[in-house]
């Protein structure tokens, strides 16, 4: 059963190669092969999810575990494991993967084979990042996902694509190299202490680090993750990359690749460098709040629709910084929820921007207006997702932001208040999208067709998921709770084993528990 974990990646890699090959015959084959590959993976992960909900693996937060030796000379294993958090993120990856193939159906007409190859390989890299439990392998996938993304932006992007692609690649690669240094530092510190030289996550978990060394090693990881996230001083690559990428590229970037940063914070920084992370937590949370406000401010002043949405991502990712570094279960659950909800809502906004671009060939919102009358279906879906972005109750983002704020309140009330102001700002920029693009008098006189059947399916699926996340967040929260708790209390095995009893309970019941032992 555990073979399915590398299986996910292998199918994506092979699917990519196959798409490239068959595209010579017909573009349609390439599209269908990519779609079916992703669909197969999606179905597989949903089956695992359902099985796990029926009969949760008892006593451990890990559902599946797969390991074979890869480079024994260095103690490197091809080790993958699936827990609730990875399961959620994989479902998101494959779900949005399917949509990214669908939205490219008409948009991408040149070099279709290579395009799908790149797309599937990015997704394979992301899948690998979410699954791997060996730090070397993690770095490997972390870098593997960059190159195809670089090509996606470089070849199929908009006017300024070269600049954006370079910026994206250099920012992320340089920060990744610093992480490599930290990984190696950790490896040798651990090896020196125990005599076991291994990159395995579980081996490294208990490494005792001198405060100073721990801080430096943690910073190496942190840089890589907050560049990807991105947190505010390191966000410069994001607006360019997002706005110049093709629609599917923006979708994958915003909805999935940013999540790898968030995932890294939760999975590696928090358990591996608990002390060092606690020490910088106030700063990190402040950066988070800064990101929320700054991102919102910049989003409000953009005229390029995709850039606007990109800055809303910066703002939303601030909540993730805030939640992770509050070291609080409720906030951490909020972070997980935010990853899912932001993936869907921002992804949807990028898709909308792409659909508008396909119709009027501009991303400048000053040239838009009155689209509701011409395209009511698109207007209605846009309403749903702008509402989600500003955090309207009943939609996924509300649950996420609410949980985060509730959790953070116990640690840093002042920051919570500031972050909550960000929600007001979010309302302002979201309403601006609606007002400028969909309301008002029509600016363009050209005939606009409303969403086609394919586009309706895409938007319909997204609308259903965001409402589902908003109204019934419990299955998601249940899935991730054990994983989150293990990460927050890596040394506290007893508590981890008690946790399953809480599974059916309310997420909030954890609050007292979390508060008491901090």
């Amino acid at each position: 059963m555990a073979i399915i974990l590398p299986g996910f990646i292998v199918t994506l890699l092979l699917g990519g190669i196959l798409s490239w090959i068959v595209a010579k015959q017909s573009h349609l084959y390439a599209r269908w092969i990519s779609l079916l590959t992703l669909l197969a993976n999606f179905i597989a992960i949903i089956i695992i999810w359902i099985q796990n909900m029926k009969s949760p693996a008892s006593g451990s937060s890990w559902i599946l575990n797969f390991s074979v030796a890869w480079i024994p000379s260095f103690g490197i294993n091809f080790h993958m494991a699936l827990d609730g958090l990875s399961l959620l993120l994989l479902s998101l990856t494959f779900f949005l993967g399917i949509l990214s193939v669908l939205i490219s159906w008409k948009e991408i007409q040149s070099r279709v084979g290579l395009y799908h190859f790149c797309l599937l390989w990015v997704l394979a890299g992301i899948t690998g990042v979410f699954l791997t439990m060996d730090l070397f392998l993690f770095y490997f996938f972390w870098e593997v996902m960059l190159i195809p993304m670089f090509f996606l932006i470089l070849i199929w992007g908009h006017e300024n694509r070269r600049y954006a692609a370079f910026k994206f690649f250099i920012f992320t690669q340089a920060s990744g190299l610093l992480m490599l240094l930290s990984i190696l530092g950790l490896y040798f510190v651990h090896g020196g202490q125990t005599g076991i030289y291994s990159f395995d996550y579980f081996q490294l978990l208990g490494t005792a680090l001198a405060p100073k060394i721990g801080m430096w090693l943690m910073l190496g990881f942190l840089v890589a993750f907050i560049v990807k996230l991105p947190a505010v001083p390191f966000h410069a690559w994001l607006p360019d990359a997002h706005s110049e990428a093709p629609t599917a590229g923006s979708l994958v970037l915003a909805a999935l690749m940013l999540k790898t940063g968030a995932y890294g914070l939760l999975r590696f920084i928090v358990p591996l460098f608990r002390d060092a992370a606690m020490e910088i937590a106030p700063w990190a949370m402040a950066i988070g709040v800064l990101g929320i406000l700054y991102g919102a401010l910049l989003a409000f002043s953009q005229t390029n629709l995709k850039r606007l949405v990109a800055y809303t991502s910066v703002s939303h990712m601030g909540f993730i910084m805030l939640g992770v570094f509050s070291f609080n279960e409720v906030a951490a659950q909020g972070v997980v929820m935010q990853m899912m909800a932001h993936g869907i809502s921002t992804g949807a906004l990028f898709i909308l921007a792409g659909m508008i671009y396909e119709r009027i060939h501009t991303r400048d919102i000053r040239e838009m207006g009155g689209f509701w009358m011409k395209m009511p279906f698109m207007g209605a879906t846009a309403l749903v997702f702008t509402m989600a972005t500003w955090g309207l109750p009943g939609l996924g983002n509300f649950v996420a932001e609410f949980l985060t704020l509730v959790g953070v309140w116990q640690v840093a009330p002042m920051l919570t208040i500031l972050a909550a102001i960000g929600l007001v700002a979010a309302t302002a920029y979201s309403l601006r999208i609606l007002q400028k693009v969909f309301y008002g008098s029509p600016v363009v006189s050209m005939e606009l067709t409303d969403l086609s059947f394919r586009e309706r399916i895409i938007m319909g699926a997204l609308v259903i998921s965001i409402i589902w996340l908003g109204l019934f967040p419990q299955p998601v929260l249940n899935t991730s709770i054990e994983a989150v708790n293990v990460m927050l209390h890596p040394n506290n095995k007893v508590e981890a084993s008690v946790l399953p009893s809480l599974k059916t309970g309310d997420a909030f019941s954890l609050r007292e528990k979390g508060g008491s032992d901090e």
């Binding site: 000379s73 670089f150 190299l177």
Partner: protein
């Protein structure tokens, strides 16, 4: 001389006899194909002999040569690289008018020189090897006489190399004057009681290092690199980048380890400064180039800086890292220049951005392979270059050389820029005038194609399953 000694030295004999054989063969009849086949076969035979014939783990021919695992590994590496270059050279020279047969003699002799370097343990054999290598290279660089820049490059290299050899000889003389020996082991045992180097010894080593620095092309001895890379015929350029530099790196490692150079702060400081300067200056100058050969030239300067980091880290991991990195670097460099070779026409080498503009849409496979090679130079995963870089960083971290390692990381980020710039130029859409396509004979294509395919497989194989190579290196070094 015992039977083992004889067996050990046979690989050198094979090379020398191959050179003589080619000489006679040319005297009888000039035939490019025959000469090429003789060269390829003798290199192959030599390699097979080296790998298969069972010789004792460590053989010494006093006082000149040492045949240990490290030496043999690099001997083999040089042979196989020379073989790959021979394969690529055939296609390259076949389409050119000049007399091409003597080139192979020079190639074999230069290989012989490099091989001598990696097994020498005495200044005499060192100098002998170095001069065989350099003198052959003078003529190889200027081989295409009709090109203006070829002459220029040849003369430049001649002057620089002769100059640096003179420095080196003076350094050797000083060391000999101080220690009374020219054999590495004896020098080491003379130095052993000293905790600080004697003044004359520092001077001697300094001169020696100037000579070595010139050959390696590290900063501040890098002035010749770009011009020579640009002017030399492509296969020769890649020969300089790989075999010639690799041989000297190995020699340096051997000498430094033997005299236990890591304990002398002055030496470590000198090398650290050279490494840092090479990384930065190489990369920063590469950023400003508009010519692919020159970019690769400057990038090779920074790569030598990377190797010096592993070399300085020392320890067993450091030596392994140097050996591994050389393998990765050889594969990548030969591959990258090999691609340029297949793009060149009979008039000039493919070296301008315009030559590769839009290559992705004209020749997607070539472009994809070239991209893979460039990404390997940049140290991106799935490729051999990544594992090599990882190895070096690991060695540096283990040796606590944090400053060097962080500078390496910064540089590899800078380096990314010019590598991906070439890739992005290849992916540009080409609307305007197409340059007339290169017309080569299919058979010629086939040989280069096979070689490059083999290099690509090696690139990914080493990048994805590096364990075999690591174990082999470890086994050979510590046997």
């Amino acid at each position: 001389m015992s039977r083992e000694d004889l067996l050990n030295i046979v690989p050198l004999f094979i090379l020398t006899s191959a050179a003589i054989l080619i000489l006679f063969s040319i005297a009888i009849k000039r035939n490019h194909k025959v000469i090429y086949v003789i060269t390829a076969l003798s290199l192959l035979a030599d390699f097979i002999f080296l790998v298969t014939v069972d010789t004792p783990a460590k053989g010494i021919i006093e006082p000149l040569f040492i045949f240990d695992g490290f030496g043999k590994f690099n001997f083999g590496l040089i042979l196989i690289t020379a073989l790959a270059l021979t394969m690529l050279s055939y296609a390259y020279f076949e389409q050119r008018e000049e007399r091409k047969e003597e080139y192979y003699i020079l190639l074999i002799l230069a290989t012989l020189g490099a091989c001598t370097l990696v097994i020498s343990k005495h200044f005499v054999s060192l100098f002998l090897g170095l001069e065989i290598l350099s003198v052959s290279l003078y003529s190889m660089i200027a081989y295409l006489r009709k090109r203006k820049r070829s002459d220029e490059a040849g003369i430049k290299y001649l002057i620089m190399a002769a100059f640096s050899s003179a420095f080196m000889l003076f350094g050797m003389a000083l060391i000999y004057y101080t220690t009374g020996s020219m054999e590495f082991g004896a020098i080491a045992s003379y130095l052993a009681p000293f905790s600080k180097l004697p003044l004359l010894m520092i001077a001697g080593l300094g001169f020696l290092l100037i000579g070595i620095g010139f050959k390696l092309g590290v900063v501040p001895f890098h002035m010749w690199i770009a011009d020579v890379y640009e002017g030399a015929p492509l296969p020769v350029t890649s020969f300089i980048a790989t075999v010639s530099k690799g041989g000297i790196v190995i020699l340096l490692v051997r000498f430094f380890l033997q005299i236990n150079g890591h304990q002398y702060t002055s030496l470590v400081v000198i090398f650290s400064v050279v490494a840092i300067a090479s990384m930065f200056i190489g990369n920063l100058l590469a950023l400003q180039q508009q010519n692919i050969k020159r970019i690769l030239a400057y990038s090779s300067i920074s790569h030598m800086g990377y190797i010096l980091v592993a070399f300085l880290a020392g320890g067993s991991l450091g030596i392994e890292a140097v050996a591994f990195y050389l393998v990765a670097y050889f594969i990548t460099t030969v591959g990258a220049f090999g691609i340029l070779t297949t793009l060149s026409d009979s008039q000039r080498d493919a070296e301008l951005f315009d030559d590769v503009r839009g290559l992705f849409w004209r020749r997607p496979w070539t472009a994809a392979i070239f991209s893979a090679m460039l990404l390997s130079l940049a140290g991106v995963p799935l490729t051999a270059g990544f594992v090599g870089e990882f190895y070096i960083v690991a060695a540096g971290v283990q040796g606590n050389m944090w400053l060097l390692v962080i500078i390496l990381v910064i540089n590899s980020a800078i380096g990314l820029f010019y590598y991906i710039r070439i890739i992005s130029i290849m992916s540009e859409k080409q609307e305007a005038i197409d340059r007339p396509e290169v017309t080569l004979k299919p058979s010629v294509y086939f040989i280069s194609g096979i070689t490059i395919a083999a290099l690509v497989i090696a690139l990914f194989w080493v990048g994805i399953f590096p364990d075999r190579l690591m174990t082999l290196i470890r086994f050979l070094i510590f046997s």
